[in-house]
Structures are given as structure tokens and as C-alpha cells.
Amino acid sequence: MANLKTLAELTPGETARVVEIVAAPHLALSILEIGIVKGVNVLHLRTAPLGGPIQVEVEGFLLSLRRDEARAILVESNGKPGSEGWKR
């Protein structure tokens, strides 16, 4: 569990596995219901062109969320694709 960080700290192209959602109950529920639950793989794709929200791929669908929400999502980084066998 060396690579523990939040989703907001990933860099473009980095993949990670969701470990825990640490947020107020209401926000946590919103995040979980959209499909970001413990154990799913996320791929950080990019920050919005003008800054602000980030775009991630969660189990094959594309989602945008703000940094505030991303900070509530604790992940374990797998590093960049290719090195850890992430299949595109």
C-alpha cells in the first residue's frame, strides 16, 4: 500500500484502484452511486482544458468530476499504463 493517494493527485495516464471514499455521507453516496466503489479501476485521463474538473475512465465509462470530489476518493496507484499491464 505504498502508493496511496487521492484521485486528484494522479497524473494523466496514471491508473489506480479505488481503496476508500472519505467524504461526508451525502457526497460519498453520490460518488458511490455513479459507480466509483471500492476495488474499481480508474484511469486519470486529463484535466479540463481551462483547468478545473478532471476526466477519468471508470470501468469503461467516462466521467468528469471536480478536484474537491476527487480528493474524497482514496486510491492505490498502479503507475502508468504499459508498465503494470493495464489494458487499454
Binding site: 455521507p25 451525502h26 457526497l27 460519498a28 453516496l29 453520490s30 460518488i31 458511490l32 452511486e33 455513479i34 459507480g35 466503489v37 471500492k38 476495488g39 474499481v40 485521463l45 486529463r46 479540463a48 482544458p49 481551462l50 483547468g51 478545473g52 474538473p53 476526466q55 475512465e57 471508470v58 470501468e59 469503461g60 465509462f61 467516462l62 466521467l63 468528469s64 468530476l65 471536480r66 474537491d68 470530489e69 489494458k87 487499454r88
Partner: protein
Amino acid sequence: MTRNSVRLQAQNSGLVRPVRRIALAGNPNSGKTTLFNALTGLHQKVANYPGVTVEHQTGLWSGTDCDYHITDLPGSYSLLPRSPDEAIASDWLSGCGKEPRPDAVICVADVTNLARHLYLVGQIIDLGIPTVLALTMGDEAERIGLSMDTARLSAHLSVPVVGVIAPQGRGLGELELAVRGVLAEPWETPPRGYLLPPAFENRLKEYAPKAGASDRQALFCVCGQHTGACTDSLEKVASQVRSELGIDEETARRFVVEARFNWHREICRDVEKRTGTARSGWTRRLDDLLLNRYLGPVFLTAALAIMFQAIFKWAEWPMGAIETVTGEWLPGLAGRVLAPGPLLSLVNDGIFAGVGSVVVFLPQILLLFLFLSILEDTGYLARAAFILDRIMSRVGLSGRSFIPLLSSFACAIPGIMAARTIPHRRDRLATILVAPLMTCSARLVIYTLLIAAFVPDQKLWGPFGLQGASLLGLYLVGIVGAALVAAIFRHTILRGPTPPLLMELPPYRRPRLRSTVLTLLQRAKTFLVSAGTIIFAASIVLWGLSSYPRWSHIEENYEARRAAVLGLMAPADQEVEMAKLDQEFAAERLQHSFAGYIGRAMEPLIAPLGFDWKIGIGILGSFAAREVFVSTMGVVYGVGSTDDGAALVDKLRADRDPATGRPIWTPLVALSLLIFYAFALQCISTVAVIKRETNSWRWPAFAFAYTGLLAYGAAFLTRQIGLWLS
């Protein structure tokens, strides 16, 4: 003849076909609306932006021996609603709304994204309502090498599963068989497939029987979901379970959500077979381009620039054609049929001039809706919201407000209705309040007229000209105004924390020609109906007000001078002199008409803005709807009369103040008027929609008052700055 009337006839003749009520539920972008269209043939918008189905639609699906009354519920991710939009679906399915529960539900899920779509499906199955799962996007799955074992999926979920490809009509027969199947027998709620942590499970098993309920009903109550099954004793049991576990309702829900997703991911691992490489390869490659750090904003700006340029330039030819018909052909025809007199004047100067000068803008409005609909259907609109979220959040709104506000460029009414998809109340109210500041197509009508009249047609760069730039500038005035007002509201009357943004970016899809065309036809109809009723009536009233009373001394004076010109002047000078005389006469008559008196009475109020009484009449008339201003000007300036084919633009430019001889319509007056209309909420329909959406008269009254003050203040400032500069 519609299907409904066929059915009524059948009932009258004694051949009654049973009608069953079916709800269509699914996530946004699941292909639910496409399936609805394929089943019922009653068309509704298909769009890619999450949550575009704002109000539910119904239609009739004729089965082999029974009819299905289908309700298309708004797309929703969950039955734990976060927005008023999602609440509609949840109320409907649990029978908490006004309507009784449907007989069965068709759950629509995107097969390429099954794990997540199953979440809502599972929640619906848990309600104990007969359910059929329809898997869409099978063609897309084939392309990316995904195959699905539907029989196994059906076994896991204990509900029938049918693959459908709605646009081609594939699988609809099987779907009907499955629906008939679940309706034929008493429905047995499938067992709960997901497992909660052992401590939770044990307590449910232990306590639920004490209240005479199933463990599923007990679970609903522990999570605080009141589906009508919660009895007092069950409520007591639920709070005992919560206190023993040391959790609250929301934490209990968290357990359930996680358990569901884990179960669904297991199912997917079992039933999905992937031979292809990329799931969203081509969407991702396009995103790399369209959401590129440098290219993304360029694309967005270019898309909007092309849209506005097109609205101004592409529409010129059809607009010219409409102008010819309503300005020359029809009045000419009327002139041949009717004898000169009040009736001809009513038809030509009132009806053709008034309605014609509004109908002429139909091409522009259709182009605007065409662009919006393409942006929506392709999935780019959600990307635009993603790019603009940072800017929107600066003023206290979110990227989600972008869609309602962009729709408000077409018309504030769909925009305000689309604001239902905004989960957060303050965000939603702020969006509703500033939506009328966005430049709607009715304002476009006024802008186009005044820009064509007072902005020289110069080239700026490439195909882009000064007139197009002015139009873009006015749109920017609306946007900046809306941003400032939103920021002020979010810091004063609607203060609160910025809500989260969790927005799906749907895969890029080709827009469907059929649905785009149907949308445009719908728009054209709505616009023409409003032109044909409100504006038609307003035109007649305005014609009456501006033509009567007729003063005999003015007419006699005119006749005498006319005779003098005809008798004494050389034939070469006669024409010029007559034209001058005609205009003086028209102006004098208008000045002494009812409209003239009303306009003069309000002149002191609008004089600080540089407006004369004719503009006053226009502003007054446009309280019904903004576009009436142009038709009013058409009537007031007598455009459309057979003797003078000159366009309204030329009339405005030529109008002089009889006392000073200076032009009334200086560029500064035009600018002040443009600024006034940029802010004023002069649209009864918008006021009515705000009332409906906020469920009180407080907000529409507030919106009307603040925009009115803003419009007056801004127009006043514009004039003062303009006078000071010149």
C-alpha cells in the same frame, strides 16, 4: 388518425383490447428514448446529454393481443433521487406519485456499460415490480468485440433479458413476448442477490420476521427508503438494527450501494466475453483532440463562432424569399382582391406587415435549433460543460448549468425546464433566474433588424464581418450579464457551498437525422403557431391603435396639399414631393392615433434612454413577447403596404424628428435599445414557466423586476457614456 382514436373506436364498437401500463426506466444515455420511439412511433427528442428527458412522455405500443400504455421516465442513475428530475422516476416506480404503480417496468441498460447500468436495474427489481431487462447498443458491442450471455444474465437476475437494437427494430417482438410473460403470472420478487457484511445480514434475518416483513423490506426501512411498506413495527426494528450496528441511514445506504456494485461486477465477469481491444477507443481518441489543453478551447470557440455566423449568413437567402412573399406577393394579391380602404389597410399594413416581419426569422431559429440539437446528440454538449465548468464555478454555477443556459439561447423556456437536471436547489434557482438574460431567438429577431439597419456591412477577417461580430458582442453582453448576476445571487440571496459535479461524458455518437428533423419540425410548428396567434392578434390590435381615430382635418389638409402638388408642380418633381408628403401624412396620423397618445404618455419615462414615442409603442407591445417589437415597428412604419415596398430597415434609417429634422434612429439610440432588450425579461411565457418550475410567484416576480431595472439602468448608462464620448 392516431392510435388513440383507433383504440377509442375499438372500445365503442365493443372490441375492447386490454391496456396495460408499462414504465420505461433507465440511465441517461441508455438508449431508452430511442427504444420508446421505436415502440410507440410517438417521437420525442433523443439526446446524448445526461437527463435531457425532462418531463415524462407517454405513448401507445400495440401488442399482438393487448395494448401497452408506455411512460418514458426521465433518465436516472438511481432511485435515491438527487434532482427533481430523478425524483419523478423514483416516485413513479414506487407508486408514491399521483399515479398508481405501473403493471410492469422495462429497464433499459447499455450492454457496453452493463456493470453500472445494472445498479438502477437492481434497485427497480428490489421494488418487487414485474421487470424485463432490455439490453441496448448491441451493435456497438459487436463493433468493440463484446459478447453477452443473456440467458446467464437472466438467470443471475431472475428477470427476463432481451437484446434490442431499437433503431433497426430488432428484438422488439421478443421484448413483447417477455413483457407478456411477466404480466401473465403473479410476480415473484427475485431473491436478493447481493450480500451485506455478515453482522448486517444476521441482524436483518433476526429482526425482519419479528415485524412480519421480508429482510428486503426491513432493509428498505433501515436505509430510510419509505416505499409504503414501512409499518410502525418495522420502523422500530429498523432503528434497532441501526443502533446495534452503530450506523445511520446514509451509512446503511453506503453498504447497500457497495454490495450491489460488487455483485453486479461479479455477474459481469461471468456473462461478458471480450475479444476486442478498446471499449471507448474512438471516443477517447476524439477526446484527445477535442479536450486537448490548447485545441479544446479553440474547437469550442470555433464551434460557437460557426454557429453564430451561420445564423446570420446562411439564413439570408430563405429570409429574402419569405420577405418577398409576405412583403410583395401577398400584399399585391390582396390589393387585387380587395378594394382600397380600411380592410385592405388592415390586411396589408396590419396582418402581413406584422406577422410577416416575424415569420421572416424562422430560418434563423431553425438553424439555431439545428446546431443545438447536433451538439446535444453527438455528445459534445457535455464536453462543453466539462470545459466551461471552471469558468461557471467562478460565478457560483456548475458545468451542469451550461446546458440550460445554452438552451436558453434558443428559448429561455426549454432552458428553464432543463434546469431540473441540476441537483442542487440554489444552483438551480440561480440558473433559472439568469437564464432569461441569455440571448434567446426572440431577441435575435430584434438584434438582426437593428444591426442590419445601423451596423455597416464591412468585412473583418475572412468570412467574418462586422455585423456578425456585433451580434456575437450582444451575445457576450448577455453572457457577461448573466455571469455577474449569478455571482451576485450566489453570494447574497442564494448563498451556499458549491455542490459537487459528477457528470457522465457520454460516448460520441452520430446524430440521428430522423430525430433532428422531427425536433426542427416541432420547433417550426411552435414558432409558427405563436406567430399565428399571439403576434397575429397583437398585430391587429396595434394596427387599430395606430390607425384610429382618423382626424378629418389631417386628411383634408393632406388632400389639399396633394392636389396642390399634382396640379402645380412639374411632373418630374411630383414623385419626390409626393413621397415626402406621404411620409409626413403617415407620421402625423400616427402621432394623433391611440398608439401615439400612449407612446407620448410614456415618453418622459423613456426619454432619458433616448427613445421616442414610436419606440415606446414597440416596447409596450413587446411585453407580450419580444419579437412583437419588430412586428410593431413593421406596423408603425407601414412596411408591407402596396404603394411602398421599401424594407423596414430603410424606413428606420429615413425617419426624422419632424421638429428638428435630425434622424430619430441614431446608432446610439439603436445601441441603447439593443442593450435594453439584452436584459429585459419581456416574455409572458418565460414568466409563466418560472412560476411553474419554482412553484411560487415570488421568483418570477423577482426575475421580472430585477431584469427590468437592469435593462433600464444599462440602457441609460449606454446613452450617457455614448453622449459623453461624442
